[in-house]
């Protein structure tokens, strides 16, 4: 039996919707056999991506959605988070490890994503918003889903 490890969600720009995505994400990560430790860090990286899309991309606008797409591509778990904002230049984000930034109360989200995932890339979505692609290498999905 072929098992399709993928989902696509479109959620409104409310922070509480992050929990909705995390429920679906957790189920998927368990089914593909990712260990608990790796699941925790992937969960956090996706939280940061969603928070940025909601807060900075869509400005919490009730009519704007965040698209979340998860798929297994070879040995990679690939998660794409796209907002309906005006785009974003990640090179403008300051390094939270610089001494002047250590005690800032914000500015760590992208840093965490880069730490917890094996690769992240930014691109423009079809509508001009920001799409962040998160990749995590893992051992590959189970051949059979776990119960």
């Amino acid at each position: 039996m072929t098992v399709d490890y993928r989902f696509h969600l479109a959620v409104g720009s409310r922070f509480e919707n992050i929990e909705l995505v995390q429920v679906v994400l957790k189920d998927c990560l368990q089914r593909i056999g990712m260990d608990d430790d790796a699941q925790h860090w992937v969960d956090l990286a996706v939280r940061e991506a969603l928070a940025n899309a909601i807060k900075h991309g869509n400005l919490q606008h009730p009519d704007k959605q965040v698209q979340v797409d998860l798929a297994v591509e070879g040995d990679d778990l690939v998660i794409r988070v796209e907002d309906e904002g005006v785009g974003f230049d990640p090179s403008l984000v300051e390094d939270p490890l610089e001494e002047v930034n250590i005690l800032r109360t914000n500015g760590r989200g992208i840093f965490y994503m880069r730490k917890f995932m094996d690769d992240i890339t930014y691109s423009s979505g079809p509508g001009g918003g920001t799409m962040v692609t998160l990749r995590k290498r893992f051992a590959g999905p189970k051949t059979e889903p776990s119960d």
């Binding site: 922070f15 992050i18 925790h40 939280r47 940061e48 490890l97 109360t105 760590r108 730490k115």
Partner: protein, 112 residues
Amino acid sequence: MDVNKRQVGDVTILDLKGKITIGVGDVQLRNAVSEVMNGGATKVLINMAGVSTIDSSGIGELVSAYTTATNRGAKLKLINLPAKVSDILTITQLITVFDVYDSESEGVLAFG
């Protein structure tokens, strides 16, 4: 997130339980710290034992709590960090900013 406030002598302890994440737990943490600071607390321990998840917003609120306490002449320390919370503080070099203790008794004694 649940916040339980209690006293051990002149030390105020905030027991946190749940997620400290954007939009929910972060605001609760901010409000709890603000309340104890406005109440005149000068020695505050944040018990992290029950924290399951903390995101960058939650970390930001911890940092805010620390600087608020410092600016008021109070002291704020962390106790009982779960391993993954400790990891997050370590990778952003905040583990050296906060005073962190492995038990409540050590944390209380550390205030002198």
